[in-house]
């Protein structure tokens, strides 16, 4: 596969937006089980994620732009839909692909997510082995197959 050597100098960075500690832990586990060569930054809700992406506040001054965002929907303060809408309205951020991870199967939620610009909607599986297999597919598509913008890397 055509992999640009300049693009692979540093590992990809994934921003995980997830308020549940257990779910975040499972995502880390699933990435590790799939030997995914990516760094993971983790924030707890939509508002914190926007602060991260806009480098607002002392903790995010040196925040690196992620290559991919994994987004939970059901979160306090700013939920996933509001966050997705805000990112896709922001000309400086809209080019970052956002994949929704959700426990909701509702067609309404699936449609809204794509309508707002999601680049995938993954139903969180309650089975750990399914979850691991799912992250294998997700990382194969986004980190091995797809070309992502390099942002001066």
């Amino acid at each position: 596969m055509a992999i640009d050597s300049t693009a692979s100098e540093r590992p990809a960075l994934i921003l995980l937006v997830e308020d549940e500690a257990a779910d975040a832990h499972l995502v880390r586990l699933a990435l590790r089980e799939n030997s995914v060569q990516a760094d993971l930054a983790h924030v707890l809700d939509g508002r914190e994620a926007l602060a991260y992406l806009r480098r607002e506040g002392p903790s995010f001054v040196a925040a690196q732009r992620p290559d991919l965002i994994l987004l939970d929907l059901n979160m306090p303060r700013m939920d996933g839909f509001e966050f997705l809408a805000a990112v896709k309205r922001d000309a400086g951020l809209r080019g970052i692909p956002v994949v929704v991870l959700s426990t909701s199967d509702a067609e309404r939620d699936v449609r809204s997510a794509y309508h707002l610009g999601a680049a995938g909607y993954v139903a969180k599986s309650s089975s750990v082995s399914e979850l691991i297999a799912g992250f294998g597919r997700l990382s194969q598509y986004w980190l091995t197959l797809a070309r992502l913008p390099t942002h001066g890397r």
Binding site: G117, G120, A123, R137, L138, Y141, L145, A146, R147, P149
Partner: protein, 154 residues
């Protein structure tokens, strides 16, 4: 999803619209899809205008055109370019929910960036080798047709 819904879901075949002006590339992609083992009904249109007519069911032949679950889009095409087509459908409230994956031979960073900024759900470089194409198509199918939920666009 209930079991009944899941059954209906698995019975309905995946539908893909390929927008590609090169007959050779279109044929190779279709062949790779068959060989990679994922099944989708593939419709092929030759440029952005034809794709818009297909999606909007405009014109006599297009009245029964199915709504695709996924669009695979070449960039360099006559008449309406892939990027212009992408911009148009992402501005259309009825069509914008359909994911569009760019499939291009262009390695230009400006093309990659523009595609994502316009709302592409992936940017794939056309490989020169057919075996690579098969493995590419397999990963594409496993992501879009096995892993993710897609909106029902009927």
């Amino acid at each position: 999803m209930s079991e009944e819904e899941a059954m209906v879901d698995s019975q309905r075949s995946n539908r893909m619209l390929m927008v590609e002006d090169e007959a050779g590339d279109a044929r190779l992609l279709q062949l790779a899809m068959r060989q990679s083992g994922f099944s989708a009904d593939i419709d092929h249109v030759w440029d952005g205008y034809e794709a818009l007519d297909y999606l909007r069911r405009a014109g006599q032949q297009r009245q029964r055109a199915p709504r695709p679950d996924l669009i695979v889009l070449d960039l360099k095409m006559p008449r309406l370019s892939g990027l212009d087509f992408l911009a148009l459908i992402k501005q259309d409230g009825d069509l914008r929910a359909i994911p569009v994956v760019v499939f291009s031979s262009s390695l230009l960073e400006t093309d990659v960036r523009s595609a994502y900024e316009l709302g592409a759900a992936g940017y794939l470089i056309k490989p020169a080798d057919f075996q690579e194409l098969i493995s590419m198509v397999r990963i594409l199918g496993e992501y879009w047709f096995t892993l993710v939920r897609l909106p029902h666009n009927d």
